[in-house]
């Protein structure tokens, strides 16, 4: 149906995602604020924070090794590279094959790995705690994500996201089968965990002992912290993009690439908005779970995913 995506388009989509990332965060914050009957900061606040951070100097712990300085760079690079795998404007495999959903998960895992390593570098309790908890949750999330991906991939016969999106096509909820519903449910359960939000993590706090991801950023400062923040924004939008590519319908194809791109962009924005709304709702209506309740929470997703797979395969 849709032709292949040229490499330039892929790069463009990647940068688009990077630029979009902070906006999504800001949007979610805004929606949360409104849901809590607050004015809240502007949706552009994350951009301002980043700009400020990149202008600041660096304060670094004296016990860190040479590694520490370069970690934000690699984390950002890995996350952004993951962005290159998300089909934004239209489906279809890239001309120059880069990778698939597994690679995407791998790159996100790499970013997480390096973040955790960096957190341990400075020494001190908070970084270690954050790293430990992050690395506790992540291995439980990954297999479920993998199974969700498989539950759609066994039909399409591939794990390449562009092809998957193209395969999903324009089919709307009516065209869904039970397996899709269950897979989507699993995905919705996983989403807060993968984006580091309530009920699994709490992005808004720093010195509270319940934190996971933020705790790892404690020793970063200035541009380094900026890279880390940008990386987490990007990671969030990439995850949402993954959901969109797997489950949500693509924009209807029209002739004329410019118009097509426009439509695709609009459709993508809409999808992201829906998911952002969902995240905001969840965050403002649930409380943070105890760390050792998280496995049970994820188990729900696991069961959904497994059932989805069973329905597909059996």
């Amino acid at each position: 149906m849709t032709g292949e995506r040229p490499f330039a388009l892929v790069l463009f989509e990647m940068s688009f995602l990077v630029l979009l990332g902070p906006l999504v965060t800001g949007g979610i914050q805004k929606i949360k604020a409104r849901l809590q009957f607050r004015q809240g900061a502007g949706v552009l606040q994350p951009y301002r924070d980043l700009a400020k951070l990149f202008r600041k100097g660096t304060v670094q712990a004296d016990t860190t090794s040479g590694l520490f300085h370069s970690i934000p760079v690699f984390v950002l690079a890995a996350t952004v590279a993951a962005g290159a795998l998300i089909p934004v404007f239209r489906g279809g495999p890239p001309v120059v094959p880069l990778g698939d959903a597994l690679l995407l998960l791998g790159l996100l895992a790499l970013a997480r790995f390096l973040t955790a390593v960096g957190a341990l570098d400075a020494g001190g309790a908070f970084g270690g705690m954050g790293a430990s908890r992050e690395m506790t949750v992540a291995p439980l999330v990954e297999p479920v994500l993998m199974m969700v991906v498989f539950s759609t991939a066994v039909v399409a016969g591939t794990t390449e996201l562009g092809t998957l999106a193209a395969h999903r096509g324009e089919s709307w909820l009516l065209a869904w089968r039970a397996a899709d519903l269950l897979g989507f449910a699993a995905m919705l359960v996983l989403l807060p965990a993968e984006t580091g939000r309530i009920p699994v993590d709490n992005p808004d706090t720093h010195l509270e002992l319940t934190m996971l991801h933020e705790g790892m950023l404690l020793e970063h400062s200035g541009p380094g912290l900026g890279c880390m923040m940008l990386a987490s924004h990007t990671r969030q939008v990439v995850t949402l993009g993954l959901v969109a590519a797997l489950f949500l319908p693509a924009a209807p194809m029209v002739a004329g690439s410019a118009l097509g791109l426009l439509l695709g962009g609009a459709a993508f924005a809409a999808k992201i908005l829906v998911l952002a709304l969902y995240l905001a709702l969840v965050e403002s209506s649930y409380a943070k779970l105890r760390l050792f309740r998280v496995p049970q929470y994820l188990a729900v997703g696991f069961v959904c995913a497994l059932t989805a797979l069973a329905l597909r395969i059996l």
Binding site: Q60, L67, P97, G124, A131
Partner: protein
């Protein structure tokens, strides 16, 4: 058959190395140098030979007859694609080990006497030679002799490393389990040789052709038992985490990186070559057993690794995990293999994944063990709770260890990711091909594989972070210095292999052609996987198959990193202040750092069912219960297989024999009565003949 000079060259190198142990009579240092150099030469020769076979014209196998040592069997060597591939794996690690060895041995045990050094040189060369010729064996007897030689040499290396009881016990357990495995292998092999009336593999193949299903299955499972013991498959793994750490580190690298793979070689040789039915697929039970074993080993291996605080022990448990991953690929290949087109293609993907992971694991596990060895010989500590802060003191070692850690955690852009990606793709292909419960089972093991990957990442964040980062926790770690250059060189070689296989795997597929084509009678790896050029790996033959392009990814990552670096530096150089770590205002000490135990604690609680963790807290409060002066916490996890199976069996046997011995009398009348009774019984049973 063409008698081949290259094999003799390899033999000559290792033989010379073994003999050079005699030099220790005059100078242990000299013996170490010469012995390891000979090993290096042998490894390089092996590398060349294997490349020659793998890249040479297809179907060409080196063969060589050995002198007739035993009247009842003709010994011979035959190097086909599979043998050559494993020869390659062995040589890759052997090069690093023999470069790394001398400096390590000198630095680790400077007080070692010449006898010990001679033993170590002899052991190393015999060990390597045995493994090489095991993979090149052309007949059962050579195979068995090399198999036992390998075991014996590694045993000697283990017990000779350190004179304390721990090594002796580890060696004992290792030797006993290896012997049990060998017993199974003996039966499997001899059952074939007795049918064939000869020992060479060709006749065995022919003899296996006439076997009926049950015998064939029995033989396979016997052999599988034997090889699985050597490979450290759960629940036969208990010897591994004891024996591997006990050896000198470069030997640990060889044992974990290579010796286990030799068992994989055996399984492949038996399943696809010797015992494979002439027509039709392998019995499904074989493949499913291997797949199940692999999945179990992968998950349990990494779970137990997670709770280890002894660096080398942790690595050893990870070998269990990776063997599991390899076996997943092998098992899937066995299930999927049909003589038709699609079956062959899927099996090819699965087998290529397994073989690729074999060499990958050899590379990064070798690298990690060598890194651990550098830490060990500089700090004489293996418990990571006592280390820390080494990244500032041993930057090279730290960097290379991190490289290995990323690779073994199956993270892009390194080699571990590539082989696991292939495994995933094979599993997915299997799922969409089989359908039904079979497909679900395959997908489930894929999910378990994902879990394994995540846990491995967690485990190595812990291992690297606690060992190399933060503050040094003991004076030993405080005073550590960088390892000598030759050891660094050994590690750099393996690191380079990891990067190369990660960034440009397409070119490595060429090496997999010969083994896959021979075993599966299929198109060969590169025909399927690099159908779209060496830059792109594709998961199936078709043009629309899922593809992965590591070179492009690597380029993208580098570019992005460069851009991020520029952004980070900012327009003007921002000032950099260095201050103590934030510890809520207290003056930070090493005691603030997160310990390995604490790091692994959440997962320990999550998987408490498998760990059966024991903890006891000693809290001595000075009189009043409100003030605690010091609190000591000790916790441990148990290995279920060990406690539930092995210890029980051992206790039962020991108790039985103790009681028997205690009850036995020393009275001569009993002796006489036994003789009399024996005679009467024998007469009654055998004496009364047909009337």
């Amino acid at each position: 058959m063409d008698v081949d000079p290259h094999l003799s060259l390899i033999a000559a190198c290792y033989g010379a190395g073994a003999l050079s142990s005699l030099l220790a009579r005059w100078s242990g240092r000299l013996a170490l140098g010469v012995g390891h150099f000979a090993a290096l030469a042998g490894a390089v020769a092996g590398l060349c030979v294997s490349l020659g076979v793998l890249l040479g014209p297809p179907g060409r196998a080196l063969t060589q007859t050995l002198p007739d040592l035993f009247p009842f069997a003709r010994l011979s060597l035959a190097v086909d694609g599979l043998s050559a591939y494993f020869l390659l794996v062995i040589s890759v690690v052997a090069i690093a080990a023999s470069v790394y060895g001398p400096a390590y041995l000198r630095a680790h045990s400077p007080d070692a006497g010449p006898a010990r050094q001679a033993t170590q040189v002899l052991g190393l060369n015999v060990f390597l030679g045995a493994m090489v010729f095991l993979c090149c064996a052309g007949d059962a007897l050579t195979f068995l002799l090399c198999w036992e030689g390998m075991t014996l040499a590694s045993y000697v290396l283990i017990v000779s490393d350190d004179r304390d009881g721990e090594n002796a016990r580890a060696g004992l357990l290792y030797m006993v389990m290896a012997h049990g495995g060998t017993a199974l292998l003996l039966v499997a092999f001899l059952a074939l040789t007795e049918r064939a009336g000869a020992f060479d593999f060709a006749s065995l193949r022919a003899a296996a052709g006439e076997l009926d299903g049950t015998t064939r299955g029995t033989l396979f499972f016997l052999a599988l038992g034997g090889f699985a013991t050597k490979a450290g498959v759960v629940p036969l793994h208990v010897w591994l985490p004891r024996a591997h750490p006990a050896a000198p580190s470069h030997i640990s690298a060889l044992m974990s990186g290579v010796m286990l793979k030799v068992a994989i070689y055996g399984i492949l040789r038996f399943a696809f070559d010797l015992l494979a039915p002439v027509a039709g697929p392998l019995p499904p039970a074989w493949g499913w057993t291997v797949l199940t074993l692999g999945t179990t080993s992968a998950v349990l291996g990494v779970l137990y690794a997670l709770q280890q605080h002894d660096l080398k022990r942790l690595l050893a448990f990870h070998s269990v995990e990776n063997i599991g991953i390899i076996l997943i690929g092998v098992g899937l290949a066995m299930i999927a293999w049909r003589r038709d087109e699609a079956g062959a293609a899927l099996a090819t993907v699965a087998l290529s994944a397994a073989l690729l992971h074999t060499v990958n694991h050899a590379a990064f596990k070798g690298l990690l063990f060598l890194g651990a060895g550098s830490v060990l010989c500089r700090t004489h500590l293996r418990n990571m709770e006592e280390l820390g802060g080494l990244a500032r003191r041993m930057p090279w070692t730290a960097g290379l260890f991190l490289l290995g850690a990323i690779a073994i955690s199956a993270l892009p852009p390194l080699n571990g990711f590539v082989s696991e990606w292939l495994t995933f793709q094979a599993l997915l292909g299997g799922a969409s091909r089989f359908r039904g419960p079979a497909g679900l089972g395959v997908v489930f093991s894929a999910a378990m594989l994902a879990l394994t990957g995540g846990l491995a990442a967690a485990c190595f964040v812990k291992a690297f972070g606690v060992t190399f980062l933060g503050r040094p926790r003991t004076p030993h770690a405080e005073q550590a210095t960088e390892a000598p250059p030759s050891m660094i060189a050994g590690m750099v070689w393996l690191g380079a292999v990891c990067v190369a296989l990660g960034v440009a795997p397409g070119y490595a597929m060429r090496l997999l052609d010969a083994p896959t084509a021979e075993l599966l009678h299929g198109p060969g790896a590169s025909a399927v996987l690099t159908a779209r050029g060496p830059l792109v790996l594709s998961a199936a033959a078709g043009a629309d198959a899922t593809a992965l392009s590591m070179p492009v990814l690597a380029a993208l990552l580098v570019a992005l990193a460069a851009m991020a670096w520029i952004v980070r530096r900012g327009w003007r150089r921002a000032p950099l202040r260095s201050v103590p770590t934030w510890t809520c205002g207290m003056s930070p000490t090493a005691r603030f750092d997160y310990t390995a135990t604490a790091f692994a604690k959440p997962l320990r609680l999550v998987f408490a069912v498998l760990y059966r963790p024991r903890r006891n807290v000693i809290r001595d409060s000075a009189g009043t219960p409100y003030v605690a002066q010091r609190i000591r916490y000790t916790g441990e996890v148990v290995d279920l297989a060990e406690t539930q199976i092995y210890q029980r069996v051992q206790n039962a046997i020991t108790a039985l024999s103790r009681t028997l011995r205690a009850r036995s009398t020393g009275r001569i009348h009993a002796y006489i009565a036994f003789v009399l009774a024996a005679l009467l019984v024998t007469l009654l049973i055998f004496g009364v003949g047909p009337r």
